[in-house]
């Protein structure tokens, strides 16, 4: 077990060093949420077209945009894995005695780091836009946990897709096709009760919904979690474990 975590941390450490050495990606990933919050959020909150209860629309969508930016950066994780396969790095990792799960958890941990950087960026934007943020230490700590779970879920999902499609070109196509439906069939930018019944039932099978739901309860003052944060974390944890089990089986197929 100790060796398992050593392996995870070895992989995460390497990814972290690369990210710190070249933070271009972290900077460019910050632009999209700024657009969503500053442009889309501001306009729609003035229009008052979406009923979000006591919470203003901008505050309502802030957790959704955090979840979205974690999703968008994690979902392209598979590209990096395909790139590593083309370079022969995956071959070397798989010949090592490190457990397959630890190689995947290591990747998920580095996705977590990116996710937390995104969270920091969005908190700064939200404060600038006067969104009522919950700064209590307990809520912040729980938010960190939820972002960690969410980033791990979508990074691992992405890795499985990469193992199936195997080429960058196909992955780009599939990645686009998957992210938008995941985003729109969730409660990220509108509440579940405004959805038509068919969409709502799809949304209840979308892990992003639980991710957003937990964040909504933790990030903003007066924000309500529909399912309860414990339930949300439980769902995300189970989804992650299921995806990890699948990924540990499909990852070796990447080099066959």
């Amino acid at each position: 077990m100790l060796q398992f975590w050593r392996e995870c941390l070895a992989i995460a450490d390497v990814e972290l060093r690369k990210l710190v050495r070249d933070p271009t990606e972290l900077v460019s990933r910050a632009i999209q949420p700024i657009l969503w919050l500053v442009v889309f959020g501001q306009v729609l909150s003035h229009a008052r077209g979406i009923d979000t209860g006591k919470v203003g629309y901008l505050a309502f969508m802030t957790p959704g945009i955090l979840a979205q930016s974690v999703l968008f950066s994690a979902i392209f994780y598979g590209i990096a894995v395909i790139w590593e396969r083309d370079l022969g790095i995956v071959h070397k990792l798989l010949v090592s005695p490190a457990s397959r799960s630890s190689l995947i958890v290591g990747k998920a941990l580095s996705a977590d780091f990116r996710g937390l950087v995104q969270a920091a960026v969005i908190y700064v934007i939200a404060v600038a836009l006067r969104v009522p943020i919950r700064f209590e230490p307990a809520a912040m700590a729980a938010m960190v946990l939820v972002v960690t779970l969410g980033a791990a879920v979508f990074a691992t999902f992405s890795l499985i897709i990469a193992c199936i499609v195997k080429t960058r070109e196909r992955f780009m196509g599939v990645g686009q096709v998957l992210t938008m439906p995941l985003f729109f069939a969730s409660n990220a930018i509108y509440p579940l009760q405004l959805m038509p019944a068919w969409l709502r039932s799809i949304a209840t099978f979308n892990p992003l919904t639980y991710f957003v739901d937990a964040l909504r309860g933790l990030m903003i003052q007066g924000g309500q979690s529909v399912y309860g944060i414990g339930w949300d974390c439980g769902v995300l944890s189970l989804v992650f474990l299921a995806l990890l089990a699948i990924a540990a089986r499909t990852y070796p197929h990447l080099v066959r």
């Binding site: 070895a10 070249d22 490190a98």
Partner: protein, 277 residues
């Protein structure tokens, strides 16, 4: 007693071979990439697996390093079955893939540190092992530089350094000098010979470079269409072909003999290449 003695002898014989391949087969669809190979490699040997593109070299090395499951047959590497004890095999082997695969965005030292950690080199020993490997491969000066600034020869030496950290019993190299300039090629040969001699590593390498095979390998097998077409010491194989045969002639002799369909061979090669991506 009379029954257990041959069994014990057989066990001793397998224990003596670094690699014992029995009936190893791998097919991709209707193409047999590796076709019932039997082959033993003794400990301490530098063994060359030769063959034209698509002959089955890379597939064989992928199976032996546990990257690819065999369709039939099996092999024991360093005393463990590749199917039944793949984790035990992985702990005892080193592997250098065909591509220059050290991570360019990391320094040489960081690449080595990652390998040491993944191979569970004891924490107290990591620094000493890394320093030793850097010195052995002549990379001390470059250790703190990003690998993307390295030459091809330096990257290959770094990969050898990575592969020796955990003192593997058997080292697998897939076309170790492909794409290197002659000087770098000779340095890699010289380092491999030293690894074999100083650290007692058994080495299996694939190549289609006959000079490499003759220079390095004490024992070779020539693969053709997934089968072993010839096996032996380079000198012995030469004398089979003709008294003054060169290794290139040996290769040509065993790689084209008794195969009528040259066109089909090329088509198969392309398919394998596409399949293996």
């Amino acid at each position: 007693m009379s029954q257990s003695e041959p069994a014990a002898a057989a066990a001793a014989a397998t224990a003596e071979a670094a690699i014992a391949i029995t009936g190893l087969t791998r097919s991709f669809g209707d193409l047999l990439a590796v076709d019932h190979i039997d082959c033993d490699v003794a400990y301490g040997e530098i063994f060359g697996l030769l063959g034209a593109n698509g002959a089955g070299k890379s597939t064989t090395i992928k199976i032996l390093t546990t990257l690819l499951p065999a369709s039939a047959g099996t092999a024991r590497v360093a005393g463990f079955d590749i199917r039944l004890a793949s984790a035990a095999v992985r702990r005892r082997i080193g592997y250098v893939p065909q591509l220059l695969s050290a991570d360019g965005a990391l320094t040489g030292y960081e690449n080595l540190l990652l390998s040491a950690r993944l191979y569970a080199v004891a924490h107290a020993e990591q620094a000493a092992r890394i320093a030793d490997a850097l010195q052995f491969m002549g990379l001390e000066q470059a250790a703190r530089r990003l690998v993307k600034t390295y030459s091809g020869g330096m990257i290959r030496r770094l990969e050898l350094a990575q592969a020796m950290l955990h003192r593997p019993k058997v080292l697998f190299l897939d076309e170790p000098t492909i794409g290197l300039d002659p000087l770098a090629r000779h340095t890699v040969w010289e380092r491999l010979a030293h690894l074999n001699r100083d650290y007692g590593m058994t080495i299996l390498l694939t190549t289609h470079d006959m000079e490499e095979a003759e220079h390095l390998c004490g024992d070779i097998a020539i693969l053709h269409a997934g089968r072993i077409a010839a096996r032996g010491r380079p000198q012995a194989l030469k004398s089979v072909v003709s008294p003054q045969a060169t290794m290139d002639e040996v290769f040509a002799h065993f790689s084209s003999a008794s195969d009528s369909g040259r066109w089909r061979d090329t088509a198969d090669t392309r398919r394998v290449a596409r399949r293996l991506g």
